[in-house]
């Protein structure tokens, strides 16, 4: 797990079984701009799967970006999932009051 967003190798176009994008360990304010860029970049994918298992720090700006990304995907009728969310991630989302909405996309 790293502090930067790992870029995933472009897969074959149209492949639905793409590997999840691992979210970085630290999702604090300093990572927000980069997270947004990454989310915009993968928005073009046919489906978006985020692996939140390694998240050890969470922040409001990053939660906002993930919510916006989820809504964008929904608007575009694309599958969006957050998988294996760490306890810390779940707690933060709950504390912020976003659990109800994000639960739709969490596994």
């Amino acid at each position: 797990m790293t502090d930067t967003i790992p870029t995933t190798e472009p897969d074959d176009a149209g492949d639905m079984q793409r590997a999840p994008h691992a979210l970085p360990q630290m999702l604090d304010l300093t990572q927000a701009a980069q997270l947004r860029e990454e989310m915009i970049r993968i928005a073009a994918d046919s489906s978006i799967v985020l692996d939140a298992s390694g998240v050890e720090r969470m922040s409001t700006p990053c939660a906002q970006i993930l919510l916006a990304a989820a809504r964008s995907a929904q608007a575009a009728n694309k599958p969006f999932r957050i998988t294996q969310a760490s306890e810390l991630f779940r707690t933060a989302i709950t504390d912020l009051g976003l659990r109800y909405e994000l639960d739709k996309w969490m596994e």
Binding site: L29, L35, I65, A68, S72, D95, L96, L98
Partner: protein, 684 residues
């Protein structure tokens, strides 16, 4: 920025104090509701109320690190929860267990308040019994720990609605709402609603701008200042609105927060009466200030009377309006300080339970009129005499079960505790169905001690009254109801110091009934101003039945008892005020003066002979006990509109003083009790 007007910061000690004050109220409520449950009221509302009390105590305990309290109340609460969900039946054993747990909880709260260390295994048997009951019903039980305890921590009394709207730039200054929300969560039970409707599409989103707004509902024991302190460092970077919504009325589950879209408003109806917690000192100060205002107003009114009404109509009208407003203000202020006697009554069942267990007796206590309101100053003084009377009833009134059975009574004795308002006073009765007063024994003992002259022929009431004499309070007691080293004389003295009276009625073999009569407030009284010789007195208006100037033919002498007034077929004893207080230059003939007929609890109707009536007035009572010393026959003093001090008569005592002064049938020591009154009158 629209923040709350309350800017005070509250040190932790203040939160703690508030918490324990609330605990006392919650424990009282718990006790009352458990009593209801015990008496068969097993409805959901009662069970919820019981649960809520324990739940709230636990909630605050976590915040102050009272681990013993959290642990015990968690077990207690789990049992109550199972009971509430009907997973455990409210059997007699469970009810007894709940009562024991409530007693233990009160002790643990008290120990936490005083920071005393409890014995290591304190209430371990009660805890174990509760766990057994839970396991017996197949209920899972989780020990509260860490965040789990915080999650289950629940509401206390205040509910705040907090609207928090970060300014766009707030996040860029490294202010993280998540941390604030977690701080808030530590204060109580938090429910979070987020409004994410301002969140733009991903492409238009500034990654470091704030788009979310929150509305929190916080049930907490801490004051508003503490809630506001959470936002101390972001005050300039957000819109904050903290609103006291209500006194929390029901358990609110700390459910996952609400929909991300529109904010659901008005979660909790604002229908429940709002209340604020005010330091009693502040209210007392207000009461005193209003008292001074009333005195000033009375002085103005008196000055106004000497003005020609046609020359100063507006001034006189203004004075009248002021008098009206002053009276309303005073009533309103006094109402703030009034409390139901429930707070005192709620403590009695435990005393009964514990003492009954110690004495091996079976006793139940039945209370009524708990919601009768009385001034806080009186309530505070009520606990000791009441406790003593209850203990006496249990210890000496109620017989052991076998003895009761032999006498054809139910094995379980009953103590009735009731409160009611009567003639502007509160009357509290403690009655039992025990063995009653054995008058023969009391009289024999009193004679042996020289308290009653050998030839004296006492009525039943007079014999009963002997138990209030100091000599009966020693350990060597034969009375069935006095005793225990501190006797009924102390109770009587305490009650009299409050401007109250105590009396007893008893039937041998059937029980006794003690009646306490207390003023509703110690602060103001509506009085009739009368003059005797050169002195001015106040007679409380509530005691006065009528005033009249009798005919000579209506006055009859009674040997050794002075005079009586024949009034519509009834003979009323006459009390000459000038004789009671040794005032010269007074009108001695009732046919030339005025007779004021007063009603008193113990002496029935009595005629008080005075020179003339000066008028009615509301007067502010100044305590003689606090400023001088207690004076028999006088319940207090006041300052009149002309600036002079007038004494307020204790009408119920006057007749007794007059009888003893003239007939001298009871102990000689009683005769000298009006001496201070004479001094006082001359000093005034």
């Amino acid at each position: 920025m629209p923040v709350s007007s309350e800017q005070e910061s509250y040190p932790v000690a203040q939160f703690r104090k508030t918490y324990f004050e609330e605990c006392a109220e919650l424990l009282d409520a718990l006790q009352s509701n458990l009593e209801l449950l015990s008496s068969g009221q097993e409805d959901d509302e009662t069970l919820h109320a019981i649960f809520r009390s324990v739940h709230s105590i636990k909630g605050g305990a976590g915040a102050f690190g009272c681990t013993d309290l959290v642990a015990f109340s968690h077990t207690f609460e789990s049992l109550l929860d199972a009971l509430r969900d009907h997973k455990i039946a409210a059997s007699q054993e469970i009810k007894q267990l709940l009562l024991r747990a409530s007693d233990a909880l009160a002790d643990i709260v008290n120990a936490a308040r005083l920071e005393h260390q409890l014995p290591p295994n304190f209430a371990a048997d009660t805890s174990a019994a509760m766990l057994d009951a839970l396991q017996g019903a197949g209920q899972a039980f989780e020990v509260p720990a860490g965040s789990a305890a915080v999650e289950t921590k629940s509401l206390s009394e205040q509910r705040y609605r907090i609207r928090f709207r970060p300014h766009t730039e707030m996040l860029k200054k490294a202010n993280e709402p998540l941390l604030l929300i977690r701080q808030l969560r530590k204060l109580g039970v938090l429910s979070t609603e987020v409004d994410s409707s301002s969140l733009p599409a991903l492409a238009a989103l500034d990654p470091e701008a704030a788009y979310l707004n929150w509305t929190f509902t916080l049930d907490t024991a801490v004051p508003r200042g503490a809630v506001q302190d959470v936002f101390e460092f972001v005050e300039d970077d957000c819109d904050l609105d903290i609103e006291l919504v209500e006194v929390a009325a029901g358990p609110v589950e700390a459910a996952p927060s609400d929909a991300g879209g529109a904010v659901a408003t008005a979660v909790a109806a604002v229908s429940v009466a709002q209340s604020i917690r005010v330091d009693v000192d502040k209210v007392d100060r207000l009461v005193n200030l209003v008292g001074e205002l009333v005195i000033s107003q009375a002085m103005l009114t008196e000055q106004g009377l000497s003005l020609p009404a046609d020359k100063y109509p507006q001034l006189i009208q203004g004075i009248e309006a002021l008098a009206q407003s002053a009276r309303e203000l005073q009533e309103s202020v006094m109402a703030i300080r009034a409390q139901p006697v429930k707070s005192v009554f709620a403590r009695m069942p435990r005393i009964v339970r514990e003492l009954a267990a110690t004495l091996g007796k079976e006793v139940r206590i039945v209370t009524s009129g708990e919601m009768t309101e009385i001034d806080k100053t009186v309530i505070e003084q009520l606990n000791d005499p009441l406790t003593h009377m209850i203990r006496n009833a249990l210890d000496h009134g109620i017989e052991p079960p076998a003895e009761r059975a032999a006498a054809g009574k139910p094995r379980q004795g009953t103590i009735h505790l009731s409160a009611a308002q009567r003639s502007g006073r509160i009357v509290i009765e403690v009655s039992d169905d025990g063995r009653g007063i054995n008058r023969e024994k009391i009289l024999a003992k009193a004679r042996a001690r020289g308290l009653v002259p050998a030839g004296a022929n006492l009525s039943d009431d007079e014999v009963d009254d002997l138990i209030f004499l100091p000599a009966f309070s020693t350990a060597d007691v034969i009375s069935n109801i006095s005793g225990r080293g501190v006797g009924m004389d102390v109770v009587k003295r305490n009650v009299q110091a409050l401007g109250g009276r105590i009396s007893v009625r008893s039937r041998f073999g059937q029980g006794s009934s003690f009646s306490l009569s207390l003023p509703l407030t110690l602060a103001v009284v509506d009085g009739m101003v009368v003059s005797v010789g050169g002195e001015t007195f106040i007679i409380p208006l509530v005691a006065i039945v009528e005033n009249l100037r009798p005919q000579v033919s209506e006055i009859h002498p009674v040997v050794g008892r002075g005079h009586v007034l024949a009034l519509r077929g009834e003979y009323l004893p006459l009390v000459y005020l000038h004789r009671v207080f040794s005032i010269s230059d007074a009108i001695g003939d009732p046919c030339r003066g005025i007779v004021i007929i007063v009603q008193s609890e113990n002496a029935g109707r009595v005629g008080i002979v005075v020179d003339e009536l000066l008028g009615q007035q509301q007067v502010v009572v100044k305590s003689l006990e606090a400023n001088y010393e207690p004076v028999d026959g006088i319940s207090g003093a006041t300052i009149l509109g002309n600036g002079r001090v007038a004494l307020i008569l204790d009408v119920a005592r006057l007749h007794e003083i007059d009888i003893r002064g003239t007939a001298g049938r009871l102990p000689a020591s009683e005769d000298s009790r009006t001496e201070p009154a004479k001094d006082m009158i001359h000093a005034a």
